[in-house]
């Protein structure tokens, strides 16, 4: 997989990460619904933390999968 070098959220100047926007969050999860590591997503530390929180919130509300076997 190609390594992205720039942070998606910094580049697009997205100030708030919306956990309801599952289609956006799915870019940073693999096909099993697991959160990809920072080295894979290229997202900066600050946004990676928010991203992880967003994915977890989406999972609780059944918007995203916990795991997909």
């Amino acid at each position: 997989m190609q390594i992205k070098k720039s942070c998606y959220y910094c580049d697009n100047k997205i100030d708030y990460l919306d956990y309801k926007d599952v289609e956006e969050l799915q870019k940073f999860t693999n096909s099993y619904g697991l959160i990809l590591p920072k080295r894979r997503t290229g997202v900066c530390s600050k946004h990676q933390r928010k991203l992880a929180m967003g994915v977890k919130r989406a999972r609780v509300m059944a918007l995203a999968l916990f795991t997909n076997k």
Binding site: Y16, G33, R57, M61, A62
Partner: protein, 195 residues
């Protein structure tokens, strides 16, 4: 961050999920109940969005579909705890989540929601097209296979039965009754039978 009223009174975003046991007309009383609960804590609702019916990522209490409703409001901390408890005890609401948030202009939120819906539609369209493509591929393959089967059966039908039958018929016609009789006599007359 702009200094707004929400810097003093916390601003929250509530997302709750109602199962598809209820129809869309029955969602209004549920929403009214929630709004009443917020009003009871002297909360002010600033944003309201119906996210529509969605397929749940996993089944909750046997339900595979649900309606999502977003509400944003300013509310005091003490009243928040009560609201959270009320929502938890509500039977109609399958699940809810309240998060703290920086207050935003409702118009900006609307735009964000529209963008979200667009992405959702695009994703749904992609999935639909992918499904259609695979279906077509499967159809084409099955048609090919069927055609092959038909062809081979035709070939077999053309090649095998007719010439064999004709040969057999020729042989039988060639061997006349007399020849058969002589052959029989030979077999019967020979010593092989008695050995």
């Amino acid at each position: 961050m702009s200094k707004t009223k929400s810097d003093k009174i916390p601003h929250y975003e509530l997302l709750y999920l109602v199962s598809n046991k209820y129809s869309e007309n029955e969602l209004e009383p549920v929403k009214e109940k929630v709004l009443k609960a917020i009003a009871a804590g002297k909360g002010i609702v600033t944003y309201d969005e119906f996210m529509g019916k969605r397929r749940l990522a996993y089944a909750i209490k046997g339900f595979r579909y649900g309606y999502y409703q977003v509400l944003e409001f300013d509310l005091e901390g003490a009243a928040m705890a009560k609201l959270d408890k009320d929502l938890k005890l509500d039977h109609e609401i399958l699940r809810h989540q309240i998060i703290r948030k920086v207050a935003k202009d409702p118009e900006v939120l609307k735009k964000e929601a529209e963008a979200r819906h667009r992405r959702q539609e695009v994703a749904a369209a992609e999935i639909a097209s992918a499904i259609a493509q695979t279906k077509e591929a499967v159809k084409a393959e099955t048609e090919k296979k069927e055609a092959l089967v038909v062809n081979t059966t035709k070939k077999i039908a053309e090649e095998t039965p007719t010439p064999k039958k004709s040969k057999l018929a020729e042989e039988t016609t060639l061997e006349s009754q007399e020849e058969l009789d002589s052959k029989l006599d030979k077999i019967l007359g020979s010593d092989i039978l008695y050995k």
